[in-house]
Structures are given as C-alpha cells and as structure tokens.
C-alpha cells in the first residue's frame, strides 16, 4: 500500500477527486452551453460518430432487406387483424364517429406542424450508456439552433435540445426519466403531464400523471402538447393511451402512453426553431 500511495500520487489523486466533485456540483444543473473544452472533444469525436452512423446505415440497409421478409409477414398478420377490427368498427356507428374525429384531429396536427420554422437534422449518436434516452444531432449553434427548442418528426414529438455545441446538439427524449412535458387529452381537453419513467422507458413508453379526478380518459385517447411550460408549441402529437393503472402508493391513477415516435429507429428529426424567420 505504501508503494502505491506515496504522498505525491495520493495528493494528486485527492486533488483530482476534489476537483471532479466541485465540477460535479457546478455542472449538475443544466449545463446548457458547453465550454470550449467540451466543444473541442465533441468536434473530435463527432466525425467518427458520423462515419460510424453512415456506415451502419449502409450495412443496416443491406441486412434490412432480409429482415423485411419477416417484417412483411408480421405486417400481413397485423393487417388481417386490422381488417377484422375495422369491420367491427363499421358496425358500430358511434365508435366510427369517434374514430373519425380522432383521425381528423391527427390530420389537423400534421398540417399545423408545417407552420413552424423547421430545421432538419440527422441523429449521429445515441447515449453511450444504458441509463438515458438521449441522442446527438448534427446541427448546433452554427445552424441557428439553441437550447430548449422542441425536436419533432413528421409523426410527432421527440423531445428538446438540452445542451448545444457549435456543430452538435444533445436531445433529451420524452421517454427519458428526466423529462416532463405539459400535455392535453385531445378528446376531453384535460390537461396532464407526460413524464419519462425508468421502467416504462425500457419499452419505449412514458407515463401520463396529474390526471384530474374528473377527467374521463380512456384507452386509445390521443395526447398532444398543451403548450404550457415554454418549450413545446401547442398541438404536437405525443402518442396515445395504452393502459390506465392505479398509482402504487396513492388513490390517484396514471396512464401508460405509447408515443407515436419509435425512439429505437429514429434517424432524422426536425428542430422547431424559434429564431429563424
């Protein structure tokens, strides 16, 4: 022990530890704009990430052809089930009407999205660990982007930019356990919160909490952003309610929400830019 921890090395180790602990305390809260050093490391690693991502897309495309056969079979099965489901829907006029209203609201949302200033970006990397649902895009401050700007796809909401460098930006998704989003039930206009959850996030899901006691949410209800909170514009589609569960330690309930975006296969996104004309 004495051989290893001679004073010189022990003091060095102690100094580095204290320094890191101080940095940890300083940077725990939103380190939105990165330092020069961080930007430099990002700039060095980013070309390799871009290279690996573009390589993987090419290889993935080749093997994807074979995987598609299995996928088509699955889709075929799903479509057959859908036909049965639709036949039932046609028989029930009231349900048909409701479904029609939902589809109409979806269409309105899609059209609304094109009214924003959208900057397209490619996903070049995902979080290196297993704990967070975050990813990195290839646009940063040089493209006019800034932190706390919403990120979407043509299907719906993805998340927002939480940290930005010159040529890259990190995006936290709505299924990350650090994320919370003001939301609205399309059918009833009830306001609630969409939050990431460690367990649900593993299956690409999130939870809807703070549902009012009077709210009559049902499975299949569509959820969109409420516009409250200052990050997300109002009316972006989030997902639909898959299940309603009671809270473990209270009398209230929460809903399991299935986002419309598939976070595993996300490769291109749009940033809702607030600065560009």
């Amino acid at each position: 022990m004495r051989g290893l921890f001679t004073n010189k090395y022990f003091i060095l180790l102690l100094t580095i530890t204290i320094l890191l602990l101080v940095m940890m305390a300083l940077y725990t809260d939103n380190r939105e704009k990165v330092t020069f050093g961080e930007d430099l490391v990002g700039a060095v690693v980013m070309p390799f990430q871009t290279l690996f991502t573009s390589t993987s897309k090419g290889v993935g495309g080749f093997f994807g052809y074979f995987a598609d056969v299995k996928k088509i079979k699955e889709e075929n099965k799903q479509m057959s089930e859908k036909i049965d489901e639709l036949n039932n829907t046609i028989r029930n006029i009231e349900e048909f009407k409701l479904e029609n209203e939902r589809l109409k609201s979806m269409l309105d949302l899609k059209q609304d999205m094109w009214n924003y200033n959208l900057v397209s970006a490619e996903v070049i990397a995902k979080d290196p660990g297993n704990w967070f649902n975050t990813f990195t895009i290839d646009k940063g401050t040089s493209s006019g982007l800034s932190v706390r700007e919403a990120v979407i796809t043509s299907k719906g909401l993805v998340g927002y930019i939480y940290e930005i460098g010159t040529n890259y930006a990190k995006v936290v998704t709505i299924i990350d356990s650090n994320s919370s989003t003001g939301s609205l039930v399309v059918r009833t206009r009830d306001i609630a919160m969409i939050e990431g959850d460690l367990e649900l996030g593993m299956d690409g899901l999130c939870k809807m909490t703070y549902i009012s006691k009077d709210a009559s949410v049902i499975t299949g209800d569509l959820i969109e952003t409420s516009g409250l909170g200052g990050i997300y514009p109002k009316g972006i589609l989030i997902g639909k309610i898959r299940e309603i569960r009671p809270e473990t330690h209270s009398v209230s309930q929460y809903a399991v929400v299935e986002p419309v975006v598939d976070f595993e296969r996300i490769s291109e996104v749009f940033v809702v830019n607030t600065k560009l004309p």
Partner: protein, 164 residues
C-alpha cells in the same frame, strides 16, 4: 507512442459506444467498451497508467454522454487506480482476472450511476435498476471482454509492453 495509441483508442471506442454498439443491444442493454479498456490498461500498465487513462476515458464519456458531469470521470479514475494496484500486488493471472475485474467494476459503476443520477433525486427503485440494467449490462460487458482483452494484449505486445 502508447499515449497516441491510447488517445486514438479512447476516441474510437467512445464513437463506437454511441453509434454501432446500439445495433448489438440485447433487450435494450449495451456493453460498456470503455470500462473494458480501462481495466485492460490498468492490468497491463499498473495503477498510475490505469488511473490516467481512466480519468481521460471518464472525462470524454462525461462530455459525450448525459447525466451528472464527473460520475464517469471519478468512477473510471478509481477503477484504473484500484484495478492496477490489485493486479500488480495480488493477481498475476491474465484473461480470467480481466473477466473478474470487468464484472465487479461494471456492477460498482452501475451502482454509482444509479446513486448519482436516480437515487439522489428520489428514485428508489433499486431492485429494478439492479435486475434490468446493472446486472444485465455487467454480464454483457463481461461476455465481450475476452476478444477485446486479446486484441489489447496483441497491440501492447507490438508496443513492447508486458503485463504487470
């Protein structure tokens, strides 16, 4: 020469960890390449080299990744120092020792991560974190240790470095 090789290795491994590794996920779990690298460096180079490379790996991982800054830096620094010390003082073995160290340090790393990013902020679902994140990641990381260890041994042999 070794410094250059290690620096390039860390940059490449970090880029791999955030890109191609996502394609070999099993049940949403991916292995930790940087941890294997730090353990290998510490086994071959001892505590000082292990600590230095560990700190560098940790800082890069903290910058590229998400979460509280410094968790990876602290974890990899101490993993490098302690593994390097234990390897030189008590263990002379090769691949088996590397596997053992990778598994143990992966569990410790996972627990540290959980503590700093979830437990401290009120999430106390340790059972879930342990059985759905920490242990699967440790098993997966341990499973791919051998090829990386032998590759590392070969590179070090070329660079004229012997274990311990």
């Amino acid at each position: 020469m070794r410094t250059v090789v290690y620096t390039i290795s860390v940059i490449l491994l970090t880029a791999l960890q955030s890109t191609l590794i996502n394609y070999i996920q099993i049940f949403g779990i991916k292995p930790n390449l940087l941890l294997i690298f730090v353990v290998c460096v510490a086994l071959f180079g001892g505590s000082i080299e292990g600590g230095m490379v560990g700190l560098f790996c940790g800082v890069v991982a903290d910058i590229i990744g998400h979460g509280a800054f410094g968790v990876n830096s602290l974890a990899y620094l101490y993993i490098g120092v302690i593994v390097g010390y234990l390897a030189i003082t008590f263990f002379r073995g090769g691949a088996i020792v590397a596997i053992g160290f990778v598994f143990c340090t992966s569990i410790i790393c996972g627990l540290l991560y959980y503590t700093f990013t979830y437990f401290m902020w009120g999430d106390t679902n340790l059972f879930l974190a342990l059985f759905r994140k920490i242990i699967p990641e440790s098993i997966y990381t341990t499973a791919i240790t051998l090829p990386i260890y032998f590759l590392f041994e070969k590179i070090n042999f070329r660079l004229g470095v012997r274990k311990g």
